[in-house]
């Protein structure tokens, strides 16, 4: 199981989408999961495809083609606005 987290404005688009995915032996990346999420919600897919959106796996920022494994946590991070 791969858990998904959506922060900031991305959380407004996740009401009807999966919050986790089963790996089922296949090779998974945040990019593949983004494609799957886009099929569930086009609006979320558009938000996730914005170039400023970053992805973290197990709380480390990674590239979109990073291989994820069972038990990993993927977080989708819109531009930060703290301070």
């Amino acid at each position: 199981m791969i858990n998904l987290l959506f922060f900031g404005r991305l959380s407004e688009f996740t009401k009807d989408v999966s919050q986790s995915y089963e790996c089922a032996g296949e090779s998974m990346t945040p990019l593949i999961i983004r494609e799957k999420l886009t099929l569930e919600s086009k609006a979320l897919g558009q938000e996730l495809s914005e170039p400023q959106v970053l992805v973290a796996v197990n709380k480390m920022i990674v590239k979109w083609d990073h291989i994820v494994r069972d038990g990993d946590e993927i977080a989708f991070l819109p531009p930060v606005t703290g301070g």
Binding site: F7, Q52, A56, K59, A75, V80, T81, G82, G83
Partner: protein
């Protein structure tokens, strides 16, 4: 470094920096507050009364990023101590949001490091603001000016 819902006391933070070591000859502090008025997104001529500012963060990752930013400030300048406090949760106008304090031997590095810490915190630390104003809510947009300010420290 602390991420907390509770308010902080800048007097206590200042005293901690002052007591950080014998070599302290300068302390620079910055405190960020919640503004009472929020500019309408993509407009500068219309302001709304802010009622609540909610700060979200990513537990563990945000602490890690803040620690990395603080470490970078020590790598760049000869500092004695750095203190960063960032509040999360529900805040009201005029509430304190963020504190950055730097203690060093001389003033120049303390001023520079404090600005660096704020510029990097605003563009790299995983916090997100949700603004409620005049009965409507929206997520704050990242500002280009913040990225420009942070980019000045690159290279």
């Amino acid at each position: 470094m602390s991420i907390q819902e509770d308010d902080f006391d800048i007097g206590v933070e200042h005293l901690r920096l002052k007591s950080a070591g014998n070599g302290v000859g300068a302390i620079v502090t910055f405190t960020g507050l919640v503004r009472e008025f929020e500019s309408e997104p993509k407009s500068t001529d219309f302001q709304r009364n802010l009622s609540t500012l909610t700060l979200e963060y990513y537990p563990e990752m945000t602490e890690k990023l803040l620690s990395e930013i603080i470490q970078q400030s020590f790598d760049r300048w000869p500092l004695v101590a750095v203190s960063v406090v960032h509040r999360v949760g529900s805040l009201k106008p005029n509430d304190q949001i963020v504190f950055v304090g730097v203690a060093s031997e001389h003033r120049i590095e303390a001023f520079q490091a404090a600005q660096f810490l704020m510029d990097y915190l605003k563009t790299r630390a995983t916090f997100w603001k949700k603004i409620e104003a005049d009965g409507q809510s929206h997520w704050a947009e990242a500002k280009v000016s913040d990225n420009v300010a942070a980019a000045k420290w690159e290279g």
